[in-house]
């Protein structure tokens, strides 16, 4: 994003947060988007998180070759990695692809087929009507998905570790319950909130300013995913630096 784009993005956000014309209509749209962002992504995030947790456990066990390191450490490392990094970031990257491309192409298609012009002619604040429900859905549902992802990733680690024999159930449970710092959950939720905002607002921006036809909508969709992923990673670093 260059400075011009960043400026236009901020101006779009200013329009997004104008007072809604009718709160009831917006509320309906928010619930619809929550269903799309949250419920619609449950399966995918569940599968990815469980497998990542299982693979993480196996890899940590593989790297811990010393007899001086207790095996309980496998659970602790998997827990902290899942909570602090893997669950928020992987969930966000996956959602940037799934939700981001859908948002960008939906709004982009509305732009090129004059549906956004139609909204504006009716006297409706089109950025607010189209984007605000998506952002609210993003900042509420992504943290919930991340919480679920943390749980499943740790559970996946348990299943993977015990099935393979890399770690015993007792050692793994002891590992995940020892020296747990609840602050890591706070850091993860702050990340999830920021990522939820990025996943919805960046693709919405890319779609909103599309000019042209089907080809440009597709290009905007690709750009939306790429820019969202890079922004997520940059913000991941910044939030981690600030909070840890």
């Amino acid at each position: 994003m260059n400075f011009t784009n960043f400026g236009r993005y901020l101006l779009l956000l200013k329009a997004v947060f104008r007072k809604p014309e009718k709160f009831k209509i917006y509320l309906k749209a928010i619930f619809k988007q929550m269903d799309f962002v949250g419920v619609g992504s449950l399966g995918l995030i569940a599968i990815i998180s469980t497998f990542i947790g299982a693979v993480m456990t196996l890899q940590i066990a593989f790297q811990l070759v010393s007899d001086f390191i207790p095996k309980t450490i496998i659970g602790s490392v998997n827990r902290d990695s899942s909570i602090l990094e893997l669950s928020p970031t992987i969930t966000a990257i996956v959602l940037a692809g799934k939700i981001g491309s859908a948002i960008s192409s939906e709004i982009g298609t509305m732009r090129v087929s004059e549906q956004i012009d139609a909204l504006e002619i009716m006297g409706i604040n089109s950025p607010g009507y189209l984007i605000l429900p998506k952002i609210i859905a993003g900042i509420t549902m992504v943290p919930l998905l991340v919480i679920m992802s943390m749980f499943l990733s740790i559970t996946g680690g348990y299943i993977g570790g015990t099935l393979s024999g890399a770690v015993s159930p007792a050692e793994y449970i002891q590992g995940i319950t020892t020296d747990f710092n609840p602050y890591t959950i706070v850091v993860a939720l702050v990340k999830a909130f920021v990522f939820g905002f990025i996943i919805t607002s960046v693709p919405a921006y890319e779609g909103f300013y599309v000019k042209g036809g089907a080809l440009e909508v597709a290009q905007a969709s690709t750009r939306a995913v790429v820019v969202s992923c890079i922004t997520i990673l940059a913000c991941d670093y910044i939030v981690t630096q600030l909070l840890l």
Binding site: K22, S113, Q115, D117, A118, E120, I121, M122, G123, N125
Partner: protein, 250 residues
């Protein structure tokens, strides 16, 4: 009534509109005509605020539109109905939801009242009973008629129509033209139609503004247009073989 004064609009170095002025009265069908790239749609978009003219003014019954702030423009836009070239129906909504949308947004009517209004509008455009269809299930002509129904749902004072006949067969085009004229006269709306369809020009053009290369070349009625001596206008009006053959009969 809508009055435009000295409208200028450029895109980069391309001067699309150069000092366009005109007066569009209520209760008559006003047409903006011209060849492709003459600036018709840009002028329409300047009038409704989708483009911002560099110079000039647009007045809605004496209310200067171009200098209004966002909230004031919203109030004017609530009085505007518009039919877009591609109809611009919301894909995710049924015909009923499309027409009901502005009512949901700007009125506190009960659902029953809104439904009555939707059915009235659908009846008005001869699409009774099509409430539950989605835009993808409609033909081009039906989409235009639903677009008109949505445009008139809020009883607009000003009706803008962009290329109502594009992609339609001649018979359906006439139906749409007649519908626009009927609605204009019935509700005394200030109607502005952007077109290059000569059937529309000769059929419903009460007031016609002819644009050529971004400039106003001529204004008058459909009775006068066939007798003008302006070369550019004659080249436009009598471009087709049919119109050439019929030239002496107007």
């Amino acid at each position: 009534m809508i009055e435009i004064k000295d409208i200028h609009k450029s895109f980069g170095s391309n001067k699309v509109l150069q000092g366009i002025s005109g007066k569009f009265e209520a209760g008559v069908t006003n047409l903006i005509i011209g060849g492709s790239g003459s600036g018709k749609t840009t002028l329409l978009k300047c009038m409704i605020g989708l483009h911002h003219p560099e110079e000039g003014s647009v007045e809605y019954d004496g209310r200067e539109f171009t200098t209004m702030n966002f909230e004031e423009k919203i109030e004017i836009r609530k009085e505007i109905g518009m039919l877009f070239q591609g109809s611009a129906l919301f894909d995710s909504m049924t015909v009923e939801e499309n027409i009901m949308f502005p009512l949901n947004m700007f009125t506190d009517q009960e659902r029953k009242e809104k439904l009555e209004r939707v059915n009235f509008c659908l009846e008005r455009v001869n699409l009774e009973g099509k409430n539950k269809l989605f835009p993808a299930e409609l033909s081009g002509g039906m989409k235009k008629r639903v677009g008109i129904a949505r445009a008139i749902a809020m009883n607009p004072k000003y009706l803008f129509v962009d290329e109502p006949n594009s992609g339609l067969d001649p018979k359906t085009s006439i139906v749409i033209d007649e519908l626009i004229k009927e609605l204009t006269e019935e509700y005394n709306t200030t109607t502005i139609v952007v077109t290059h369809d000569m059937n529309s020009v000769m059929g419903i053009g009460d007031y016609i503004l002819f644009l050529h290369e971004g400039k106003k070349f001529w204004e008058g009625s459909n009775k006068e247009i066939a007798h003008t001596e302006i070369q550019e206008l004659n080249d436009f009006v009598f471009a087709s073989r049919f119109m050439k053959a019929a030239k002496g009969k107007f």
